[in-house]
Symmetry: D4
């Protein structure tokens, strides 16, 4: 191997070999049986922009294909109609209609976290995104404490849950409209906050841009942000942050 | 209580107690029976982004739940189909199809204002937003004088209503397209103007952005602005400005 | 006059006559000696985009020109260099370096308001805009109570001034970055809030756009918004809202 | 009348009288029977954002209401379904399905122009907007010469029609995508060009913004621009420019 | 020539010949001695983005180069420093410091228009752009009537000049901030309006975008728009529209 | 011909003749029978924004009209419903449901390229755009090698295909979301990369803008970019780049 | 305390007391001597938008004012000129010219983290932001490992540091231009990534927006994002995530 | 090596070795002595955002450092002041003031291309970007033919150079303002066009965005686009496309 590092052509040769890893080509998607090992975490399929047949095909391969390890698999952003069709094709899946996610090959929960992940949402309309985050964090080994409907217009509601917020290792805050909730929560408790802007709002909310910008410009420190409506990303990041050190 | 203020932990303790206020958790929304008292004004539910079942549940709780005080309740941005479903679940509601609002537990009008709120709109297509403002201001205790279809392209129509404009304590001006009406009205009469841009228009109106920007840059003074299509916000602010001093 | 209303040409004739109002043409600006009467308020000159000579010329005409009434005059958005030059040309002016405003012909304060206007700002960098608002409201006949540096990241600071906030007839809230302060203040006290986004911030604050959008999308009710950094507009609107009924 | 000009109140009084013009209030729209006289041109109703019943009501009033003069009336941006409903309510209308316009009370064409208006469009998909312009210009008294499908990718097609372009008093150029056609045409012939960007395109055309910006930044001189897809505005402006001097 | 049109290759050949027109290559700019003839109008140089040496070189070539015809030449968007340097290199030029333009080879004014072009501006800060338009229209053969400082916040000023507006063949309206003036003027008088948004304003004026959008969305008809601050383009288009028919 | 170049009028005369080229007017589209010859490539119809009847009419004319040469013809951006209707009207077409394209008059493949065009896509949802590119490149005479689902999150998959990438004359890289794939591929292999951003994503992907901007700002050299979702444009450009020198 | 929770007024009373916390008013800033305790972390002053005198005043108060605890204090976004002036006023500060930060009252480093924070930057121009992050993380108790200049255009450089990346508890990735580095790093190693877009770039990088959008849309999971150029925010969040559990 | 591919850990081990490539760490930049070999092309340094000392350091290392191969090196986007300082530190460099580039270690030109690269620019102000492209293409082994100042407003100038355009292997088209030139050129000649939008323009050109969007939406086929003002990127891509097949 030492000779490899000395010139350019040998590097190429080595790289070509290295790439010969065990993944299987479904035609429309390279299903990666090792990503699981490499990241230490389950497989995730982004349902949006894929047909039900494609989702079912990928889930099936991951569950029972050659090299498939039986799961778990999480498919996000799957609407009810598409979910029904996938369930018909792969009966082993379970659909969470609030979080709009499909889960397959679920296993008994093992707590891999240093503490609870608290998922807070500002309003009733933010719940689907919050639930996507909560479901994701759970599947990735974190206990989740859910707090709904505690917007900045009613601070006393927020103060009522302060103790639960302080118990968190990391807090996921989901809010649309003016997106001020992460600033206020981060100012109250010294925990890492993963902020999720939602597309809840109208007019100059521009599909969540107002909330996104507010969160990026938060005057409180310790806040990081994910994409609009990206409950999965927030739940995943929270679980990763929360993970017990190896 | 004096000892509370001396250190940090006791503050926390006090805050935890304070937060123990009477609100009831519906699972999807914390219905706040005291907001009414604290703000001196009825409850409002933003209908957009909520299911008919959620709207009905919140209205029901506010009307007849433990601690519910019978109303009034205003639900905004409810389309006709959703309204019909809510009416089926909570028969006591009334639907205003132009303003796209549901009202429940309405009470006899008591004038709490220093004078009339005038609601002006520039074109026929702006009427729904203007009516949302007018309905809101009425429910919050202001007499409303409505003036429709007096755009800047026909100044004589505007001059015809100048006396009514001058009689106002506050004027709500609703306009889409180039959003010039607030500037012209504010230049004519020395009253506070709450400007509401609407999404009426096409092409480079960008869903109301052109009108919003015009209103924010008005060369006349005394104009403040709310979100695009936010008739509720304008009606509420107008009623608050108009309120007789306590 | 009755015959005027019957046809189109006579209307034109009348309008032509009506337009013959006493204003004087300086070449670069029509100085309006009656605007003062018509609006019941002093003259204001937007300094930005005008040369020092132009500002001095307009102020001079308003103070001592034919039909000039001696003031008061307020010139906004005047930087220190330009102010020095105007002071050289029109010695009677006073420069407020924090608010970046020139005042001429100032008169003894007469309280024309129903109560105090409270001007709150979120951070030290927002002070110039807040002072522009405070100076304007004062000149237009409102007592002003100033509260500085009470951002949402430290809620206890805000709670410390709650009583002063509740004493206001109208509250001007000045904030940059994520612009969350108006939401929180409006949720605490039932007063009309005029929100002023500032260009304080960097990166994705986009020169105040983040704060502007947050304020337009505020989930608390009773908030109206003015242009970015428009302290004058907020102070003027607040004074107009606060004005004792005629 | 001379005394009117001396003070503020009399001006007001006069203005109030002047405003007493003959227009009739339909509840949802002030139908103006004199606009026709004052502008010397027919009535136009923007169909978008109005219900079929509203459009029919306004057309009916203009045709046969008290003070109605029988037309002509042009209603723009009316889709086929809405048009069918209006035709049922007001049988006297004619629908132009390509231009998506309703016409009522049409009169024999009288040429009021100094020459022809040429309407050019870049591609097949731009035809509806071009036809809206052509129909409008015709109704407002201009002869129209239509040239379709002569984009900048095939210059020889453009050169083939150069003589017709040079015969125009004013040229309306309709183009989507990169919106380059007005620059090229204006560079070829020394005629005023009214450029209409269309929403034809996808991706980074942003609903016509790319074409709009290109037209505003045209390096050829003599080009002015209207709103995206605003065939009516272009046809109207062209007819106004083309009008024989009174 | 007839044989040329029958196939593709010969077309190419002809085009190659045709292109052999008399223009001269300065290295940095192809100075076109025939554009003048082809468009029937003087030469224009956009000064912005060019060095003083480049501007002087182009002007010199147009005045006295082989094929140069002595002018006139108009160079726009030239700041005072650059103008001084050009004047040093080409003494025959004249600098208009308000319009920020250089003129060379000016000739006695010959009225080529059907009537006057009226140039209106909303505020003192808009004057430079208005003067660029007025100077351009004059050089291109139109009489110009200038009206300054008649914004929408003081309608009586506008009514005072209504007669002059009605005398125009075409009206150029220059306005920044909310850009409402073209709508109001176009609603008053039935003349073609060329609207020029300016970058006057701050905050959410976004360098003239607010005014630009307002003008594109004007509810009055007969308005066409040019680029922000493009006084030249508006003056040129107005002169072209105003030109006596050949 | 030499005399033509000496003055302006003769040029015009010549241009008028030149324009008399053989194209046929269908009313809605000028079908150009010579474009094929002039560019050396088949005809393309942009299906978006055209009705099925228009598409069928154009295809029919190109196949069998006077001067029609039988194809091939490619119609892009045709959805399944429209395709079915076109197939009913012009049975000779073939529909590629993945690429959403219609092909008519297809001919046996002749390799006109210097090597293979490799089309890479980042995710399953990007396949339709990749297939549009691949189909286009094939029809325009390039051999295509397809590589699917090799995003930057799994570099080993990319390394596995490095040899195929290096064999390409030009690489088309199709990616949505963060659009990072072209940078990484261009950094690996020294081939021209044509990058196609797709609208795959949600929230702050803004319909492909995020990917578009990433590709335009790529830190690797040798990348050029086409419009969002413009598989056709990328395939065409790749085939043109790949074409054997004449 | 129990009685407090029963009604609204007592809550107010309690809140008023609670707010009586020990902070001191400097006129321009409320210096908070307890924030330190409440968050368990040093004081931070955003230097941007503050004068040198203001910065010096705040630092002085925090170091030696009544209740001041001697530091440490970190002032960010301070340019060299301002820093020199602050150093003159408060000699005890140290200026980090690369990170553009002032530090005062620095204490011996105590490792409070679970492991190292790795700070990676893509290019030489990103170093100032990376250093701001590294300095912040260090001050807040994390060991930092710096890796510079490992962009996606040269993957082998990245692979060379893979082991150091895998040793991190959390990775801060700083990149401008297309912002692809976080995606690639997150795909390689299963650690939480805090991504910092920088304003490095030109043209369509739009001051860092391209990188920001790319990072928000990253296809790899486990990435969260802070504001453009917000090295402080990323360093703070990283230290908070890395903090040993209490 | 075969055993490497069988599991995950060995892959890591191999990758770690592979990464041990000969690059040298300057502290602020990893200078890569092998990139040259791997890409077969010279080193390029983006001067923008780097200090003169950094640029000089990198150039010096590449010329004479351990592993340095003497060049050539190209540093782009270097203004005159910075260039002078670099020249002082590394006397061997040459500065091209028009293209704003530094070159070091230049070698005799060897034509590696299949034909000439033609670089066309629309206006005098676009020349610096065009020269950056031309210099880059030359350094990377392509003969360059330069055509300046042939905008779409004067088509005859363009026709005059048609033959030179047709002789190109690839055409780089540089244009600001409305960016229409690539469409017109691509419609004339069947060659690959690399389009470079420039920031030349004002107002609604938005720093080159108008031209960028126009180019992305070009209706002619065969156009690909690079970043605004990215002459280097276009020249590099053109040389890569033009390169003789290996």
């Amino acid at each position: 191997m030492e000779s490899v590092a000395k010139g350019e052509r040998p590097v190429d040769a080595a790289m070509r070999e290295l790439a010969d890893l065990p993944f299987r080509d479904l035609g429309f998607a390279r299903v990666d049986h090792h990503r699981h090992l490499r990241r230490g975490l389950p497989e995730v399929v982004l349902g949006e922009g894929k047909t039900a047949a494609q989702i079912a095909g990928i889930i099936g391969e991951l569950l029972t294909g050659s090299g498939g390890d039986g799961g778990p698999v999480l498919a996000t952003r799957v609407d009810a109609a598409k979910a029904a069709e996938v369930e018909r094709l792969v009966p082993a899946v379970r659909y969470d209609a609030v979080a709009r996610c499909l889960v397959a090959g679920e296993r008994p929960f093992v707590d891999r976290g240093r503490g609870p992940v608290v998922v807070v949402c500002a309003g009733t309309s933010d719940i689907p995104v919050a639930e996507e985050a909560a479901l994701t964090a759970t599947l990735f080994g974190s206990r989740v404490d859910r707090i709904h409907d505690v917007g900045v217009a009613g601070l006393h509601r927020l103060l009522a849950v302060r103790e639960r917020l302080e118990a968190a290792t990391v807090i996921v805050v989901v809010a649309g409209m003016e997106g001020a909730l992460p600033s206020v929560i981060s100012g109250l408790v010294g925990r890492p906050v993963v902020a999720v802007p939602t597309s809840v709002g109208y007019g100059a909310s521009f599909g969540g841009v107002a909330a996104l910008l507010a969160m990026l410009n938060a005057c409180s420190s310790g806040i990081t942000v994910v994409n609009i409506d990206n409950g999965f990303g927030a739940g995943f990041a929270a679980a990763l942050i929360n993970r017990k050190d190896d």
